[in-house]
Symmetry: D5
Subunit: 146 residues, 10 copies
């Protein structure tokens, strides 16, 4: 079973059960973005986590094993076309140089890790229209000099 | 004066004065990411804001006017090569489908605006290594049905 | 059932029934462009709308549910090759800077939303040859300053 | 004088005079989108029109002649990055198949001309936020069978 | 039946019958390039024409109907690799600016229509080697000024 | 002097003299498309031809020599954006497979040369609108078997 | 049977029979590169040649006919990734301008035909390591002036 | 002095002296393709060779030194547009798989080196039209197994 | 059996047996990177090596033969998206010019062979976090002058 | 002074002084690859290091300051054309999946950092031809689960 087949099996079971990522995340005891990312073949679960997810969805067979296997990550189009994803891409590209300068001002030469990294999505109420708040939280990695 | 020339003039003055975006942001009375984005030709200031910035940097001539002129925004490479920017791009692409599903679960069909949008960069102390925390905060826009 | 299968099922039923998008739009009580866009997997219907469409086409099973599921939108070729679509693309690209300036003159810095957006296609009689008139109608969104 | 130099000269004079495309359009006696498109090197003016524009802007030399010379049209990036232009591109791509079907239902096999074509930008008041309304109006051209 | 399946069915029958496009064109009463283009899913036939073609080839079922359905035209590679097609592409690109200038000298600002358009392929005898003569014949369309 | 500088010098002199390619072609004693193509750096003239052209335009210096030097031909964008050139590209791509089949039916396996090649542009009167007629005329080259 | 299926059938039979292109070329009475190119769907055989090849490989059905049918040639990746093919590509690109100049010095303005063309691959013994010697041999085609 | 400036200086002197690559190659005592490739910044000369070339062309200053400096090789367009270069590219791509198989049949798994490599261009007389014969001659490099 | 099917069969057997590349490499008597590369269709084994691998994995049929057949190597995306592979790509691109200069300083004009080449992956303990150490080891190939 | 100008100034002084990266590295007290990478605008030096380098090269003005400024890293072509760099790219792409699997076998899910990273180039004597040995040495970063 490859990761595409695993994702299809999980999404199918999730739809049939009518469960949200938030509900599944509670079952696994981890955060929703991370749990979803594992199911999309972008991260690996530990054995217990994979078991908890598959129990919640009634999945057996190769799914728990594949959830623990390191995937080859890819995302097809280098520029996303879906409007929700494009807006994220656009925000990163437009504000990229500003963010880069501020990281360097606050930390020196280095980057925000995308590996020692976590991410959250929240809904914040606002009388002018509720807001999507996405938090990117990565360890600062300074460049090594050698 | 076009926006590239404006950016060069501002960065040059900023370096000569040894000022940070945070210091300039205080002078303008706005947030650092936004002030930097205007200086990179990605947003427009109001007259007072442009004046405050130029006073702080000792800039005259066409700079204040150009800061108020709507720019044609672009970012060259569709996939950034600078490692700091690439990590942001990578995080967005890897977690994109997960974020998309969570927005739809919390809000229904629609997107996070990149126009009614704000963004912050923070340094968060952590004994295992301080962390870069970037907040994307945009109004939810539901798709219109007509 | 994914959105490609849904589109194929709907187009097949539409052809067999010999119905136009205009007729289907009347059944659903919404506009033709929007109804067609849902069927092409580019928008989501409410439950009643999906039911009305499927009743008109004699479709059952997963189609009504998939019509209500947020799709991942994409359009393959970044530059369309079909002549009708290419002419639309060409018109947007050739007149893009002019349109941009006029929006800024009339509204200030911001954009026309493609989310709070509607679109119509009309045939206008003309003695020199009837004309296709396409109306793009989106809410103006001013850039937030923060 | 090539068309890029012509555009730069016109935009410079327009800014110095503080005139809008609407004001210039009135001087020329044509519509604003079309007048702007000529100044961006995307269309050609007749001699009288070029003269009226240059008189309004105080321009002489090669500008009037270049305004009457057929340009080689191009727009650089095949997918625009400026958010205002990208939204237009996105709207055309997402609703393209729907628009195509409706044109064929109303007219048969053929296209909307981008040559025998006109375009308008309007501001429409709306209590929920004013709207940008863009009208694309092109002659229907049926495919010739031979 | 989509247009790819239609093309495959027609080419298969054409090969089995050992008929040329010229012979089929005679049956349909139209020119060979146009008849072939319909069979490649690049144009639509009228009902009589589709019937005549299918009778000649012994085809039934959905083929006649699909021949009358507006196709979504595309050609895959933006630059063709087949040597015969590449030479056509090369000739157009190398002589493009020259052809453009001559059209403008003879007609003014406008284009040759690719819609109100016809095309012929001929073999012309020549003692130094026979020649392929291809004629592109399209209506001149002047740009509208508005 | 490179070919870009040569082209600029010729176009400048041609504009100042107000001469057309047809008039220059008469001076050189060759056809207009070919003469223009040499001036665009896409073909080489013989010494007499280069001299005749430069005499007609009042050009001296390196121009006649550069007109006789083999250029490195290129055309920038692999897909042209100028509408007149795009229509030629589109016509070739849409009718390419049909033209290919007809050449093979009439000649066997081989191609139309783009080297032993000539091309003409004509205006043909037509009560429904005059037509642009472009003739591509190249020697048939059969594939060698070895 | 399309050309991909033909190639697969021939390669399969060749492997089962354990025959080399050189052995097959002897059976057909032509050179190995050319015979292999026909089998890869890049050239067409005459009836006798196709029959000889199929007899040697024990192939029947549509293979001999498809070997005689003009293929639509293509090679997928515009830059090859296989190291052997990439080295050929690299050699052509690095030495391209030098080769071009030498052809023009020896022949004048024109090209080496890739149609009236033959190619050989030889192994040449060398005490420092045997060498691959590839010969490209094409008719010189002078540009026509008209 | 970078390699582009060196190439420009050499080509300019070569044109002024009216010398061919063959004549220069004789002065340097090496083959014409290689000498030209050094001048195009694609290979490095030894000190004596650079001196001989510069003496023949009357060049001084940084040219001899730059001829000995390892260049960063590049060729711009990944697919060449000049017809002479495109034909070479096309021949390599069309016959690539055939050549690859023959190299493997004759040598086993490995490649033809493009580094321990030489290349010649010859004119071969032929009553049906003289032929361009290009020889690619590279050491066979077997893959190492480890 | 093509190389993709071979790879799938090997990976499937490897997973079922729960064997690592290191364990398989020991069975074959070669290094792990090389053994894995053969299984991914990027190198060819000798008969004994292929037999040893297939014995260890319980594979029969065409697998041993395909392991000995020269593959057509390719890697899909020219820029890898998987983060582990992207970091390798990034390191090569960022330090490329530095590495190039150092090779030329130490060896003169030439390259590191990727054919007479070996590669190792090691884990090196480090109190600040263990390190991945990858060694690229290729024969220096000097450019031939001819 | 931007980083391109800084690189040009350093390379120019380095050539005039006839110094190697190894000699400069000794002056700075760091490794040659890293020192070169700073000079190519790919890393930042500390104040002392920049001073030592500039003293060795006789450089003043903005160079030491620019060496300490965080650069925006980029490398132009996504696939390098220079043969030395291409071989590195090729080796990474061909052995990428094998390396990835071995890292996961030895460390679990994670990557080799390209930030906490060092790199060395060595010449290793070998009777069959000396070898280039390049060492990539980066900290292992495990994916965070959250």
């Amino acid at each position: 079973m490859n990761h595409e087949e695993m994702t299809a099996a999980i999404l199918d079971a999730k739809n049939r059960k009518g469960m949200t990522w938030e509900q599944l995340a509670e079952k696994v005891g981890m955060s929703p973005v991370w749990v979803a990312s594992c199911c999309y073949g972008m991260n690996t679960m530990l054995e217990d986590q994979a078991k908890a997810l598959c129990d919640a969805l009634g999945l057996k067979g190769d799914v728990p094993q594949t959830l623990q296997t390191c995937p080859s990550k890819s995302w097809g189009e280098s520029v996303p076309q879906d409007p929700l994803l494009y807006r994220l891409y656009e925000a990163i590209m437009i504000y990229g140089p500003s963010v880069k300068d501020l990281v360097h001002e606050k930390f020196g030469d280095g980057i925000m890790s995308a590996i020692d990294y976590k991410m959250h999505v929240d809904r914040v109420e606002d009388p002018k229209g509720d807001r999507v708040v996405i938090t990117l939280d990565g360890k600062f990695l300074p460049y090594r000099r050698w």
